[in-house]
């Protein structure tokens, strides 16, 4: 299962950003959070297609609500990470930490 749900780096960032946004997890805020943390603006196209991909993998879910002001009545999506998504994140983190362990010299050097 872990193999199939292997996460790309950008996917990880998006998932983490959704979790960080908690109650405010609308795409605009999620994208802003990714931007804040990584320092560069992800392309809008890449961002939305990643959300779609995460959804089709069953890692996120969304609900809609009526649009806020300034959206001309267009709906707004709110994302939550599914338990499956959390599991995938955990697996990724574990794998990364595993790979990093013993390499402390490298990241303290610079």
């Amino acid at each position: 299962v872990g193999g199939r749900n292997f996460l790309g780096e950008f996917e990880q960032r998006v998932l983490l950003a959704i979790l960080r946004c908690a109650e405010e997890s609308y795409p605009i805020e999620i994208r802003r959070e990714v931007m804040r943390a990584t320092g560069h603006e992800p392309s809008r196209g890449a961002f939305y297609t990643t959300l779609d991909r995460l959804e089709s993998k069953g890692l996120v879910r969304w609900t809609t609500k009526a649009g806020a002001e300034g959206r001309d009545g267009l709906p707004q999506r709110k994302f939550t990470v599914t338990p499956e998504g959390v599991r995938a994140l955990r697996a990724s983190r574990k794998a990364l930490l595993e790979l990093w362990s013993g390499l402390d010299r490298i990241w303290t050097e610079s």
């Binding site: 392309s43 196209g45 779609d52 089709s56 959206r71 001309d72 709906p75 707004q76 999506r77």
Partner: protein, 872 residues
Amino acid sequence: MTLRLRAGQDPPRLADALLRRVLPPGKRGESILGDLREEFRASPSRSWYWQQALRLVLRYLAEPSRTTLSTPRRSPMLHDLTSDLRSAFRMFRRNPGTSSLIVMTLALAIGASTIGFAFADLALFRGLPVDDPARVVSLFVSDSHGAEPIRRVSTPDFLDYRDRSRTLERLSAFRQGRAALIKDGQSRALTVTWATGDLFLAMGQSAVQGRTLATGDDAPGAPPVALLSHRYWQEEFSGRPDAVGRTMQVGRDIFTIVGVLTPEMEFGNLAEIDAWLPLHLTPDAPRDTRDLRFIARVRDGFTFDQAAAEMAAIGDALAAEYPVTNGGWKIRLIPIRDMTGGQGFWVVIAMFLLSVGLLMAIATANVSNLVLVRAASRQRELAVRAALGARRGRLVRQLVVEGMVLTIVAAMLAVVCAYGGLQVIAAVSSEPVFRQLAIDVHELSFIGMLTLICPLLFSIAPARTISRADTRQVLAAAGSRGSTASMRGRSSLVVAQVSLAVILLTISTLALRSTNAIYGKPTGMDTRSSLVLTLDFNDAQYVDQSQAAAASLATKEALAGMPGIEHAALISALPILAPESTGAFSVDGNAVPPGESAPIAVITAISAEGASALGLTLLTGEWWNRETTGVAVVSRETAIRYLGGVERAVGRQVSYQSGPNRESARVIGVSNDVELDFTRPPVRIWVSMDRIPRRITYVLKARTDAGGLTADVRTAIAATAPAIPIENMVTFEQGFESARQSDYVIIGMLTGFAGLALLLASAGLFGVVSYSAGQRTAEFGTRMALGATAWDVIRLVSGHSIKLLAIGLVIGLAGGVAVGRTMGSLLNGFSPADPVTLLLVSGLLMTITLVATAIPAFRASRIDPVVALRAE
């Protein structure tokens, strides 16, 4: 009720429409749109919105999410189209090499074609600045000796046309020339055209400021008025409206500026005109001094043919009334469109259009080939889809949509290519026509048309193989080998490409060789190290003719006295470099037989040093010295045609018209012919310069290098003719060079088309040969296992390409010669079946084929039989 938003805060509607097409349906897409709206409202910038929208569109086209495909809620037609588009983008990503090759091929071909089209467009659709080309006419007159018809009429003839014609109206005449603008005591040369008042009504042109010349402005005693060209107005008055009403001094006359002409008038050489001045017609001018251009309008209620018949009749009547000057002359009325450029011009345009067509055909064939290769490798995919129930039409449509996407990308690049090309052309040649080439609605529509047609054309061949393919057979086959049918299709495409490229190559080589031959031919003069310049001793600075003559002689003496100068001569007009005046002449006072016209000659007045300064060769007799007047030297052609041969010319008497006077001169010698042509040299009479005209050209023969003398020459002229500007000071070779330049630009373009065609055709050849060699790997392996040598394999591979080349070459050379025949006048008597051209073209083609074949052949010969057979 929602609040209506201010217009500035609304996002671009087109971008929204595009997004709604592409984004996933339902709430998913709507919410993305909503996010974009919300951020837009925070900082409204339309360009930002467009940018974001395009990024989304591109991404969603290239990478469709699975969820969208499973919910086809839109109309099936539209859904098919978007999915075709998506698959087109996928193809692009998956196969960037082939796709960029296709795009590049098309971009270059469309770009080059657009340049060719821009030429044709300028001539065909923009054309002369007249509002109703069908009704505006001009005329040719021709003599009975079969000489080239001339487009000029004499003043009395013009006045008679104006009085007698019932079918024409607004008959007008004009004459181009130079005049001296006097400003702050200095003079400056202006390019002016003297025109009768009706000219602009005849052409249907108007003024952007003030008025044009009007009927009555040309009447004797009318106040002198001037009309500025738009360009001159911009340059000299920075486009200020108060220019109208000001005065300018031209020669001794003060002209009031009455208006500025529209910029549309600046077509072809008309673009060089600074100002238009009224033409005062002198009814007593000689009838055989034909120096006015003619434009008129066919009166409403009459047809062109009626007008042409009437003018021909008027011409015949004048021939009967004035047999000496008009006998044998015929008038032919022509639509104004035929005035552009002359016959060679239309041949050039036809060549350009032909080249464009051939080039596009080759490019399409090339792309078709590339698509075929791709289709062959996709045959399994397509067969699977067909087996799953996709209709053939649907598959073909997908091919066309893919082609369309590639062509659109190519078309955008082509605009850039064409624009760059035109910039280069304008930089190379100073000819105004080249600067008038532009890319606007016409050219963009042309590109748009190609964008629609090309994908259809290059999808035909692959579509046929798809619809022919037997699904079961393809799916059953283990490998992905192309069928023999598609191989044959590709080979015939290559043959077609090669033959079309050979046609283009033959045409351009012929044009280049014939032009080289003309310019390489001796002109009959020795013009190495000679410097030429023109001075206009105008009537404002030199009121009396005698003062002007004295000043020009003094200048000549001063120049002749310079240490670097061997000879200095005065000449009325330079052969080859300047328009020369022609006139009727007669020999020994003999009357012309009735019904024939008096012979016409180029009459050049020249000072005694002229023969040495121009490096003429005297065949018999002598040249005159400074003291002699009333003598002439005729050219060889003149002596042979009209004086009974070179030996019998000396001592005869010729009389000719010189301005208002009838002059007579004794022939004392025969010179060689001077001309830049393959056909008959012109009839030419050199006459002694007994009266020095105000406007005069100097020919200075330097002892060593003419170019280095210019500064000293300027100093010398500043001392003897202080207020007179020096016009066109160049070495003869420079002048010659710039005269050649426009020809070479045109030939360069033809050669460029041919080179591109050759490149594409050889790429096609390479593709087919290496593909078929690849397909036969197993066969070669078997052969080599059975004892064939590497050479045998090379022979097998090259045999194929040589066969293609041979067929293409034969068809192409035959086609090239056939087209060459229609080029006629452009070749200046050069044979279209010129063996050197044919050899050159064949040689080039063979070399290229060799290169295109060598690589695949060599690769095939290195096959390891074991590996090849194992793959099978």
